[in-house]
Symmetry: C2
Subunit: 433 residues, 2 copies
């Protein structure tokens, strides 16, 4: 799994666009993530750069690109990223190179300047038409912590180390960051109650996840080999798989989560491409000495050097009281995506191992990303030990689960010596009663 | 839940179209189901009538309809049924009345005649763009029989009688009847084996199901009350939820079925509208004396008179040897949809009870429809007691699970005294190695 760096990754590159060279920006010229924003009421494909968004199709119209880059930019005219996603890595690389040269210091053209809009004022939309949403379960810490609450003696099920477990999520209720989160009603059975009741969930939770968008898909009946998986992955985003734990524990046997999740799933608006992440590809996480040999379609023993992505994740909470008192969102958790037991490439290979057809724009998420300690847990269920040990906030408030008005923000960024820091922006949602 | 009959249901109506008045036809003038067929390589919305299909948009073009019927027919111009589905029951009723008057004896117009194509030669396609596929689990016999194999002491889980259990299926791999079924490969762990292996499924099964297509959807965060559910259901089809049992039993804990199902799901090409089914609406199945009271959003105690649909279902199997010897497909099972523990209306109300947004064209299936006896089982897993008691075929062959070349056909029809018999056509698929 060789990963090549090119001139677009050069940490010394700077941009002529305001804000792009500031320390700590999520969107330097080495990032160039894609999203969809509203302009005059219409969806437009944009690339985040500093404080701005470049309208890609408009830049193409203005003659900013040639060759494969031009073809790629024109695929953005529909106002959704699906057509670009379908083109594949060679086209993506050509457009990235074209964008980098256009936006870097010295590459300024008057034409490109007029294609920039103010990022702060832009209204972001879902980046793609998501036909299918699949959610995996690839953190061994999450699986162990959540499993321990239900099966103290055998928290981890026997299949976990043999293949990445997943289920189909609900595609219609995937919404862009900022969409308000209506507290769902549902059926649940309270502890010690003999009968269920119906009402607003009492155990509202978030799940910190990373998702990838599928690039070119595969025909039904065809599989994608592990070595070919990178060519089918367009880029990554942050995902909040909001969960109603009381509904979930009552409904999930025997067919898995359903209404506990399908009321809303939030995604961050920017898709950081796999190419932008190249400097942060690291060895796949060590699976431990007791890890079984993997079956051929999942076996990465030959080359584990770039299976992981060093991506730092953070969760912030702001309660209504904090907001009222002007207190910033509090960081309540953090973990790194490089610790996942299964890689995104194994997820994709497994997903297609039965011939299931993936489509460009499908969203595939990692499941809750948790580290080994409680301070690295990716959901309140783990963090508060099932609600038994409430989280203490600096202003004296406590939380077992989320209350109305609470806002959850995810942030993600990649940094290491010798590379420019790049960020994912935010995935945010506020609970409404 | 009042159900009104109108002139389109009159059993004495006949049609001027060839084949529509023959005894036993699935498509008399009282049916008028919708589908999508290919004409000159383009998808067209059609209505099955006798041996023909009426091209609906072309008939509209020819001036066959007026008012709301015309609006509805013109919604079919896109070549998919989604736009018609979105219009709702008043529009559907207007178009049905227009179609009935156009196609009934005496209503012939030369214009309509030229809009007919030969049904036998037509290549059918998926009737709608299916954004989301949900599969329920509403047969108490199936749940009990399947559950007994895993939990002999407590086959039925405690939640079953309190709400209809469901999971998200895979939308991309829903295909129209006739699509060949590639035997999926997958990971499974053989009985008594300590390690899993990867290869073609050894336990290939079908699942006899009935699905409905959603009409007008609901906004995210909004619920649909049980009494309003009928207005959100466009019509019904047969569904074969092909299942790889060995893959399923190894992967399904804790998140439910995934690759065991996502390789293919077949649907019959014709959607029989809820209005066409009006003469066959019967009381919802008796839930038995030990049934718990239902929570408000599912409670149909006030009016159970038309919750069920009297729809006879049949499963036929033809092996390659039978085909070679000219032996017709053998009927191996049959059951009636009126015995389901949960109604389609409860399914829809439950699905939206957390605010999950349904979209026009979403497919929602019943789960395996099984009666109480083995001869009424809706899948081989039940019929052969998990493969331990193979099915004996008249030509001496046996089947525990499906072999390459086997073809499974579902048929469905409604009949009762005083109403014209209507049918669903066929849902067929042949296993390919």
């Amino acid at each position: 799994m060789p990963v090549e760096l090119n001139e677009t990754h050069d940490p010394l590159l700077t941009s002529w666009v305001a804000g792009a060279n500031e320390a700590g920006t999520d969107f330097p010229i080495q990032n160039l993530p894609y999203g969809v924003f509203a302009r005059a009421g219409k969806p437009r494909v944009g690339v985040a750069i500093g404080d701005s968004i470049l309208d890609v199709a408009e830049a193409a119209q203005a003659g900013s690109f040639t060759g494969m880059a031009e073809v790629s930019a024109k695929a953005c005219q529909s106002g959704q990223l699906n057509a670009l996603m379908e083109l594949g890595p060679d086209y993506w690389a050509a457009l990235r190179l074209g964008l980098s040269r256009l936006l870097r210091q010295g590459g300024a053209t008057k034409a490109a300047e007029s294609c920039l809009v103010d990022r702060k004022c832009a209204q972001m939309r879902l980046p793609a038409s998501i036909s299918n949403f699949t959610d995996f379960y690839t953190s061994i810490h999450h699986a162990t912590n959540a499993g321990r609450m239900m099966r103290p003696d055998a928290p981890l099920l026997p299949n976990f180390k043999h293949m990445p477990i997943a289920y189909h999520g609900r595609a219609s209720s995937v919404a862009v960051s900022g969409t308000s989160v209506r507290r769902p009603k549902g059926q649940s059975r309270a502890k010690n109650a003999s009968l269920p009741s119906y009402g607003p969930t009492q155990r509202m939770d978030f799940e910190l996840e990373v998702g990838f968008y599928v690039g070119p898909g595969n025909a039904i009946g065809e599989t994608v080999a592990l070595a070919d998986a990178p060519g089918h992955i367009f880029g990554l985003s942050l995902v909040n798989d909001w969960s109603a734990r009381d509904i979930q524990s009552w409904e999930y046997q025997p067919l898995g989560p359903f209404l506990a999740k399908s009321f809303l799933t939030s995604v961050s608006p920017w898709i950081v491409t796999l190419e932008a992440l190249a400097p942060f590809r690291v060895a796949a996480a060590d699976r431990g000495r007791d890890a079984p040999d993997l079956l051929a379609h999942l076996d990465d023993a030959q080359d584990r050097t770039h299976g992981g992505i060093h991506l730092q994740l953070e969760v912030f909470l702001q309660t209504p009281k904090m907001r009222g008192a002007g207190i910033s969102p509090e960081r309540i958790s953090g973990s790194n995506f490089d610790g996942q037991y299964w890689t995104i490439f194994q997820m994709l290979a497994h997903h297609t191992s039965n011939g299931c057809n993936l489509l460009a724009g499908d969203l595939v998420a990692s499941g809750t990303v948790s580290g080994s300690g409680l301070s690295e847990a990716g959901c309140l269920l783990e963090m508060t030990l099932g609600g038994t040990r409430p989280l203490a906030l600096p202003n004296g408030e406590t939380r077992s689960f989320l209350e109305d008005g609470d806002e959850i923000l995810f942030r993600g960024f990649c940094e290491r010596t010798g590379a420019a820091r790049i960020g994912f922006g935010e995935c945010a949602g506020r609970i409404e009663g």
